[in-house]
């Protein structure tokens, strides 16, 4: 923090649908300083060749409608205006958007799974809009797999009294690059629960953000990541409390192992003057399993009102506790198994929050696979 430090609330003011409004980042900007731009394969400077393909296939619950629409559809970009160069590049470049609508008061009988399969290493751009109409309830899974250089924007519009639970799996092949914006726009008394799991890819930069339009909005943002040698995994959260009496809770936990494994977590929470009665808490933890791995964790909480119900943040990055391992080993449990138990335990509370059983099992299996490396 230097003398030139500016409040978040002013830094985050900029948004536009026009590419020219965002200069090509140099890496010195606050919002780009952790990201290795050279590994973005041109997504940030317009040099990416549009030869890639990310196939979108939706397995929908019977209650929801799925449409593929063009750029001119009125619902596209309605809840979200791009806030950075890659996001606006994706917004100005995608050809077809997927719009999923959960009708008013519908309660979906099963999860709607959006499969996104990368088929190669040319650049591809995408856009998804999920509209949950008032009082409806839905579970959406975004399942990213394969090889891709992919930038996209996902808009979640959660209507008054509606509930949306989202699981986003970044289960990419090792060479994938993915830069993504997830924006949730919450109505009055709307509930949004997001669970992000990032395991794969060479570089993944995912920016979940939340805005509120009415009292009683409730956002719960969880994330789990496992970073291996050479991977850059970055999560940048922004919760902008502009309305009174809303709630947000952020809990992101990661483990890192191997040379040049790099995790970045930025947690920005703004409580504006008018957002009295806000209740917010954000937490990030990083478990560093080997030398050569690095975690940058930056919580920023900016409170502009004197009347909050609760506001806090915590960040902790460190090694596994030797005393935990000693205790388990002292009961005969071999070192490797003791280590697995401790890491599993570290993620357990988080994984329990995943409500889709198949996804929970898959995440557990993925953690196990990482531990077996």
């Amino acid at each position: 923090m230097g003398l030139d430090t500016k409040p978040l609330s002013t830094l985050r003011g900029k948004s536009s649908y026009k590419l020219e409004d965002f200069p090509v980042p140099t890496g010195r900007e606050e919002m780009w300083r952790f990201t290795p731009l050279s590994r973005l394969r041109g997504l940030h400077d317009g040099t990416a060749t549009l030869s890639g393909n990310v196939v979108v296939h939706v397995e929908a619950a019977p209650e929801v409608s799925v449409e593929t629409v063009g750029r001119d559809d009125a619902r596209v970009g309605k809840a979200y205006t791009p806030t950075d160069r890659v996001s606006v590049q994706a917004f100005t470049s995608f050809e077809k958007a997927t719009v999923i609508t959960v009708p008013k008061e519908a309660v979906t009988s099963k999860a709607t799974v959006i499969n996104l399969r990368g088929e190669g290493n040319g650049a591809a751009y995408g856009h998804i809009v999920i509209v949950v109409e008032p009082l409806a309830e839905a579970v959406i899974v975004l399942d990213h797999q394969g090889s891709a250089v992919y930038a996209d924007n996902v808009e979640f519009v959660v209507g008054d009294g509606a509930t949306l639970k989202v699981v986003s799996l970044q289960d990419w092949a090792r060479d994938a690059v993915h830069v993504s914006q997830h924006h949730a726009h919450l109505g009055r008394d709307a509930t949004f629960k997001s669970f992000v799991v990032t395991m794969g890819g060479d570089l993944v930069r995912l920016s979940p953000s939340v805005s509120y339009t009415g009292r009683g909005g409730d956002a719960d943002l969880s994330g789990l990541y496992f970073v291996d040698a050479g991977q850059h995994i970055e999560h940048r959260l922004l919760v902008d409390h502009t309305v009174p009496d809303c709630r947000s809770n952020v809990d992101y936990r990661g483990a890192l192992q191997g040379d040049e494994a790099h995790a970045v977590w930025i947690g920005d929470v703004i409580i504006r003057v008018e957002a009295t009665g806000t209740d917010t808490y954000e937490l990030n933890r990083n478990l560093i399993l080997t030398d050569g791995a690095r975690a940058d964790s930056v919580p920023n909480l900016e409170i502009l009102t004197g009347e909050v119900a609760g506001a806090g943040h915590a960040s902790a990055s460190g090694r596994m506790d030797d005393e935990h391992i000693f205790y388990l080993q002292a009961r005969g449990i071999p070192y490797d198994e003791a280590r697995r138990l401790v890491i599993r335990g570290y993620f357990a509370q988080l994984i329990e929050k995943i409500e889709v059983e198949e996804i929970r099992d898959r995440v557990l299996a993925a953690v196990e696979a990482e531990l077996a490396r």
Binding site: F326, L328, A330, L341, G345, A348
Partner: protein, 248 residues
């Protein structure tokens, strides 16, 4: 019949010598009380035998039935038949008691117990120590009261059935009821006759419930006096002052 034999053991922590030549033999069928003032090195002895990485053995030997304990890893020592009931068991987030106990029992017995039989065994063990059934689903030591932690240590002792158990101030921080329950557990464990107990304590209170065959007085890193149960009575009456002064 098993024997833990400690010979001329010297132990340092960060280059500071804490144990200065400990000699002690504990055989099955015996209960030894190791008593001494705070800071005399009692816990260091316990943790050094268990293999805690903080403690460096500078000289001496520890054998269990002739096998060199000091060359074994922490988990190998436990599987060889040593058990340390800890004074301050650590909290391990996200690891349930039942999962932990099953993993430990599997490791020590060399095969996974049948689930039904294990559930039954666990329930019987918990009942005997007046531990509530919901306990098994809680995270390991997380939010446990002092008494719950100690009962849980004794539950592990009874499930793992080591050859030699070292109990590090298991009596500290317990109210009388908890002390009685915990002592009964220790006595059940000792009653089989083929196990030995080394009870480390600061106070004589637990010795009303767990009767020692031998009492050793520990001061400034070594045993300074040995005797039968009557030595504990003497300590009760006179305290440790006499020993700490002699070593000053």
């Amino acid at each position: 019949m098993s024997t833990l034999e400690i010979r001329d053991l010297h132990v340092a922590v960060e280059d500071k010598e804490i144990l200065r030549g400990v000699n002690l033999t504990v055989s099955s069928g015996e209960t030894h009380a190791l008593m001494g003032p705070n800071g005399s090195g009692k816990s260091t002895l316990a943790y050094a035998i268990a293999g805690h990485p903080k403690y460096t053995i500078t000289s001496g030997t520890v054998t269990l039935d002739g096998e060199d304990v000091l060359s074994l890893t922490v988990d190998e020592r436990a599987r060889a038949g040593l058990f340390l009931a800890m004074q301050y068991p650590v909290e391990v987030p996200g690891v349930s008691v039942s999962n932990f106990l099953r993993s430990a029992v599997t490791a020590v017995r060399g095969e996974a117990p049948k689930l039904r039989a294990f559930t039954k065994e666990l329930k019987a063990g918990m009942d005997a120590l007046s531990i509530d059934g919901a306990f098994a689903q809680r995270n390991l030591n997380e939010g446990f009261s002092g008494g719950e932690k100690k009962r849980h240590e004794i539950l592990q002792l009874e499930l793992l059935k080591p050859k030699i158990a070292i109990l590090d101030e298991t009596d500290s921080g317990l109210d009388v009821d908890a002390l009685r329950v915990v002592s009964e557990g220790v006595n059940r464990f000792g009653a089989s006759g083929d196990t030995g107990v080394l009870l480390i304590t600061h106070y004589t209170r637990i010795l009303r419930y767990v009767k020692p065959d031998f009492v050793h007085v520990f001061s400034a890193g070594r045993i300074v006096e040995e005797g039968g149960p009557e030595l504990a009575d003497k300590l009760e009456a006179e305290g440790y002052e006499h020993y700490t002064k002699a070593n000053a």
